[in-house]
Amino acid sequence: MIRARHLPFLATVLIFVLAYALCVLQFPNMLSFRVLGNLLTDNAFLGIAAVGMTFVILSGGIDLSMGSVIAFTSVLVAVLVRAGVHPALAFALALMVSTGFGALMGLTIHALKMPAFVVTLAGMFLARGAAFLLSTDSVPISHDFIKLLKGLFIRLPDKGKLSFLAILMLLAFVIGVILAHRTRFGANVYAIGGSEQSAELMGVPLRKTMVQLYAFSGFMAGLAGLAYTLYTSAGYSLATVGVELDAIAAVVVGGTLLTGGSGLVLGTLFGVLIQGLIQTYIVFDGTLSSWWTKIVIGLLLFAFIVLQRLILLVSERRAAIRSAAGG
């Protein structure tokens, strides 16, 4: 049986398939592994960030610092590599910094009982400022190791490539799905999102989970930063402004409730793909401006939010009828 709370997810998948079919009807060339491969590669950093955002939103929180942390890690890696550090070491350092930064925000949110919105907003300023301190110019990276990573891919039929970045993003989603549905951490996050008070009474360690949660989201933002660095071969402190909004939109379009407690990590993947599809369509069309992306995403957001409201209303009414019949 299809559960009502999985309806938004199914709707997302359906919309993606329908939209893709419509695109293919107009431009038959869009149905190729090449386009699909590029769709995954071009949106890899957004997808990775969106995995972290999904968990934060599932817990009922929000992480506004993501775009800034992505920019910060990419600048940090670029500056370290320029100074002669091996990229692998730079990657590890950057991930440690971003994870630690996330953990610190989680601790602040819990210890000071401040809204995640405000704390991560301050984190957004802090990370962006730190990126400016490292360098205000775009720092190019060229290193054999980076070239090696960029050259890695799995060959798909008809000249398609599943690049390293695409694999990294799919891997992030696999890890996300396992974490969400097969671990205690995932269950705790869902519980906190359902009701923080109930979760605490049921023995969910709030402090530990909050720190882990925002550390995970920081880690994913750092990983997205690395993906972005590989994608552009540079670190720039003014890059990825507003990516957190794209990630939030992807999560909501993917069927996760912004109030927390309900949603699927896999839905976010389709949320990201829908955004990418709109952009690909605009590129294929050639006459539309890129700002149509924003308007369409806004409309999609609206449609999904209304859909979620309706589902909630229907299930509430059903529950009311059931309890009336039972009582």
Partner: protein, 332 residues
């Protein structure tokens, strides 16, 4: 209105910030009159704060109802774009003002309907317009930065009345009008009631839906005004950058002003002081000659410091401490 005593923390923070800037650059407090207009860094703070101050007025009311309006920056871009288009086409200023303000009102009503009547969480409801708004603004300007040359409209951004720059007068007037409206009537009290417990307030007969709708409408109006000031100031509309991230500054101003994001008790005066604190920081860092790279870091650190002092956890600790001290004082 708000009692002066309740404003002590905000006034103190503003005083400390201003004092520090004054120590770093002594010329900060000097105000001169040139060409019949006031000049000086302090006046500049007052002019530059106008957009955030206007947004903060509307945002305070929205936040007091336990809501949030993320779309104000995008609404600024939309209204700025329409104002620039109309001015460039040669329409008279009153028409431009009327159309832009109505558009802001419509945007606010859209948010309000989503929140009040469709019961959608405010943060998501206003996210829609935040994401789509800049696209709409681009649609209006046709994707270019529209420029115009119209002294009458530019007066809004760079003119002066009796030596006082117009933006200062506009935000002071708006703060005063809205402040009087909510505090000289029962509206403010009712808004606080809705913010603290919407169900309970509805049960005692407060028309919560209407009130919530009204706060978003006012927020849209404020955003329209802010959008026009920015457009008039730069003699053009930049759909990409007008009002970018100003919603966050406005929310910060409200939070620094002590209004809780959980709704309830609010103070427009305190929010305006919060906006002044943020702008003083911006201007102060600029004129102190520090590299602008430090701007965001300093801002983040100061904000975290102010918010930490106001946070519920620290307030509890301080309360416990105060009780302990009082008990100790009472013993002997």
């Amino acid at each position: 209105m708000t009692r002066l005593r309740q404003l002590y923390p905000q006034l103190l923070a503003l005083g400390v910030v201003l004092l520090l800037i004054g120590l770093i650059s002594p010329g900060f407090f000097s105000v001169t009159v040139q060409n019949g207009r006031l000049y000086g860094s302090l006046i500049d703070v007052g002019v530059r704060v106008a957009p955030v101050a206007l947004l903060a007025v509307g945002m305070t009311l929205v936040i007091a109802t336990k809501g949030i309006d993320l779309s104000v920056g995008a609404v600024m871009a939309i209204t700025g774009a329409i104002a620039a288009t109309l001015v460039a086409d040669g329409h008279p200023v009153p028409v431009v003002l009327l159309v832009a303000l109505s558009l802001g009102l419509v945007c606010g009503l859209w948010n309000g309907v989503l929140v009040a009547f469709l019961d959608i969480q405010p943060i998501i409801a206003t996210l829609i317009l935040m994401v789509a708004g800049r696209g709409i603004a681009q649609l209006i300007t046709g994707g270019v930065i529209l420029t115009f040359n119209d002294p009458a409209f530019s007066f809004l951004g760079s003119g002066a009345v009796m030596g006082v720059p117009t933006p200062i007068l506009i935000w002071l007037a708006m703060g005063l009008v809205v402040g009087l409206l909510v505090r000289r009537t029962a509206l403010g009290l009712l808004i606080e009631a809705v913010g603290i417990n919407r169900r309970a307030s509805m049960l005692v007969g407060v028309r919560a839906r209407f009130l919530i709708l009204a706060t978003y409408a006012i927020s849209g109006l404020c955003a329209a005004m802010a959008g026009m000031i920015v457009t008039a100031d730069i003699h053009g509309a930049d759909a990409n950058n007008a009002g970018l991230w100003l919603e966050l500054d406005a929310i910060l101003a409200v939070v620094i002003g002590g209004t809780s994001l959980a709704g309830g008790r609010f103070s427009i005066t305190a929010s305006l002081i919060g906006a002044l604190i943020i702008q003083s920081l911006n201007t102060g860092i600029l004129i102190s000659g520090w590299p602008p790279e430090f701007n965001l870091i300093v801002k983040a650190v100061v904000i975290v410091a102010i918010l930490t002092l106001q946070s519920p956890a620290v307030a509890e600790e301080l309360g416990v401490l105060r009780d302990l001290l009082r008990r100790k004082g009472a013993k002997p």
